[in-house]
């Protein structure tokens, strides 16, 4: 493993626990009563209609926003109560891909992926470049190693951002709409990569997505955030949700079930 301080994550399962979270923006509550656990090696999909608070929930899970109520726990460590050192150490244990890619525009794609490696691992420059090239190859972006992000399309930026998020082989990955804007083949490859990371590296993944085919292809469990009810209304395996979830969730999933069942694996 490239990132050394693995032991910083508290040992017992679950890896991540959200307890009765209330998500709010100034003057408005987006969601309340959000509770779930993420097991090691699990792929959890956050889904729901536009504007229901999926990305906001993700920002709370990585400690960029503090919940109005409730707790986010990594092991027994409450994220809101972690001091700066603990928070920094915890954050090195997860990789984050933001919705728009968020590549640093003054650096080449290769430098974007190499930065966490040179900062937080003991690899020398050559080894870090080898690692960065391999991570970019995994998302089909090795040819863009020397390009600036401004020269990339939206989908390419996202793929490069996934490579950056995986740079340190983190045990936990947060991906915010990684396949939005990708062509179907790239989206299918991305699903394959996500399953590979889970199956072979044991990576836990929290995935925010609208792509129903991806939900059926990769999710162990899916959590549905309802914008009208302002709370989570379902949490289960996607196929079980088709039978047991409330009507709104089944309607949401039914359109993807046909495309997902015949789609990529």
């Amino acid at each position: 493993m490239v990132a050394q301080p693995q032991q910083a994550l508290p040992a017992p399962s679950p890896l991540l626990r959200a307890e009765d979270l209330t998500l709010a923006v100034p003057g408005r509550v987006l969601q309340q009563g959000i509770s779930f656990e993420l097991q090691r090696g699990e792929i959890l999909v956050l889904m729901g209609g536009s504007g229901c608070g999926k990305s906001t929930l993700l920002r709370h899970l990585i400690g960029l926003q503090t919940p109005a109520a409730g707790r986010v726990l990594y092991g027994e460590q409450d994220l809101a109560e972690a001091d700066d050192d603990t928070l920094a150490q915890l954050r090195r244990q997860f990789g984050v891909m933001f919705q728009g890619g968020a590549l640093w525009s003054s650096m080449t794609v290769g430098e974007n992926v190499m930065l966490p490696l040179t900062e937080f691992s003991e690899l020398d420059e050559d080894a870090a470049e080898q690692m960065a090239r391999f991570k970019l190859a995994l998302v089909g972006m090795e040819a863009a190693f020397d390009e600036l992000p401004s020269a990339l399309s939206g989908g390419m930026k996202k793929r490069a951002a996934i490579a950056r998020a995986m740079a340190l082989d983190p045990p936990l990955l947060f991906l915010d709409e990684p396949s939005a804007g990708l062509d179907p083949l790239s989206a299918a490859s991305l699903d394959e990569l996500i399953l590979n990371l889970r199956d072979h590296l044991g990576t836990s993944i929290v995935l925010v997505t609208h792509e129903l085919s991806s939900i059926f292809a990769v999710a162990d469990r899916a959590l549905f955030l309802d914008a009208k009810e302002k709370t989570m209304t379902a949490l289960d395996a996607p196929r079980r949700l088709l039978e047991t979830a409330p009507e709104a969730v089944r309607l949401f999933l039914r359109r993807g079930e046909t495309s997902g069942s015949g789609g990529h694996a």
Partner: protein, 384 residues
């Protein structure tokens, strides 16, 4: 990263790698625990085989990892780099599933890629590209000026698409919001001119002429120049940043796609606001500068207040005031044009927006200095 199917039995074994050449080609045998980044040994020289027709074809690089106990992504990255540097595909059939899955995925995703770095162009090409970029920038500036003149002409004819709300918003951002900084700088510059002038005039016993010096200097030159430079830093930079961000977010493309003219919608209100507000700010700066000069003359060099006011009023002529206002207006328009031109032609990244902002300020100051020189020489020649 992972472990092979044989459990932890091999966890204690040191990482080992051995190169072998057999009838199927070059083979790399890996065993033991490869976590923590041990390095692969360099391979022997490649040997090409030929097919029955005699045509050379690349060999597969066979990797046997059945005796691997543990590995991490560093090993995968090394195998990938090896494959790329030798331009040979990896045969991963004898690797543990985790390692095989990753390497196969990378190979599929990168099919057809050429991962070599970009070649730096030769010096002659670089000079050519540089001049091409200069030509393009000049052409863009001329085209922008032409579009702006057409937009102004349409506005004068009353057929502009510019929204009144946009103009009002820009008038506020350009004028009243700039007053504090204009006040501060004009006051201090007036103070400096009065002090420096008085020090020289005192040697000749001519402190009484301080009023002439400060009034003519401030009204005719300094107020306009300082206002122009402050507007370049405060408003021109903001114009470039606003339009540059809109360019990065494709908002300007959205206007064009709708058949709307971005110059009329975005540039014209900013340039008009500046053309209207710059002379007012220049007037205000001149008054503040003169007041500062008067404070120095009366308070420190003991010039009679009424004498100062009388000489001041006699020094201001219509020509001085008109020239000062004209210069202020010209500088303001140049600042707005520089900001809008750089913003409209910015790249599509955060860094490009920053570069456009810097370029807007630099270009505005250069244009101001050139215009100041040209106008000063012209008015002197005309005897105004």
């Amino acid at each position: 990263m992972g472990e092979a199917q044989q459990g932890d039995a091999g966890a204690g074994q040191a990482a080992q790698a051995q190169w072998q050449q057999d009838e199927s080609g070059l083979r790399l045998r890996l065993s033991g625990d490869w976590r923590g980044g041990p390095l692969l040994p360099p391979p022997p020289e490649p040997q090409d085989s030929t097919d029955p027709l005699g045509a050379a074809r690349p060999l597969l690089l066979h990797v046997d990892g059945q005796a691997l106990s543990h590995f991490d992504s560093r090993l995968a990255a090394q195998l990938w780099a090896l494959s790329r540097s030798r331009q040979q595909a990896l045969n991963t059939e004898a690797l543990p599933p985790g390692l095989r899955g990753m390497l196969d995925l990378a190979a599929r995703q990168s099919a057809g890629d050429t991962p070599n770095g970009k070649r730096r162009p030769r010096w002659l090409t670089r000079i050519g590209l540089d001049w091409q970029a200069r030509y393009r920038r000049t052409r863009d500036t001329l085209a922008f000026t032409g579009e702006l003149l057409i937009a102004v002409y349409r506005a004068l004819r009353g057929s502009t698409a510019m929204r009144g709300e946009d103009l009002a918003q820009q008038l506020h951002a350009t004028g009243p919001a700039s007053l504090p900084i204009v006040t501060l700088v004009s006051f201090l510059v007036g103070l400096i001119i009065a002090y420096m002038g008085a020090a020289q005039l005192q040697r000749l016993g001519a402190q009484a002429f301080m009023a002439d010096l400060v009034t003519i200097g401030v009204v005719r030159e300094i107020a306009a120049l300082m206002t122009g430079i402050m507007l370049a830093g405060r408003v021109g930079a903001a114009f470039a940043a606003q339009l540059g961000s809109m360019q990065a977010n494709e908002e300007i493309d959205a206007l064009r796609a709708l058949g709307l003219n971005p110059v009329e919608h975005l540039v014209l209100p900013r340039v008009l606001a500046m053309a209207l507000m710059a002379p007012l700010l220049t007037t205000f700066a001149a008054v503040v500068g003169m007041l500062a000069g008067m404070l120095v003359a009366v308070g420190i060099f003991h010039v009679e207040l009424l004498d100062y006011l009388y000489r001041s009023s006699k020094a201001i002529t219509l020509a001085h005031a008109g020239i000062g206002l004209l210069k202020g207006t010209v500088y303001g328009v140049l600042v707005a044009m520089a900001g809008c031109r750089q913003g409209l032609h910015a790249g599509r990244s955060a860094q490009a927006v920053g570069e456009a902002t810097t370029a807007a300020v630099v270009q505005a100051i250069i244009w101001i200095v050139i215009a100041a020189s040209a106008l000063t020489i012209a008015f002197q020649r005309l005897g105004w």
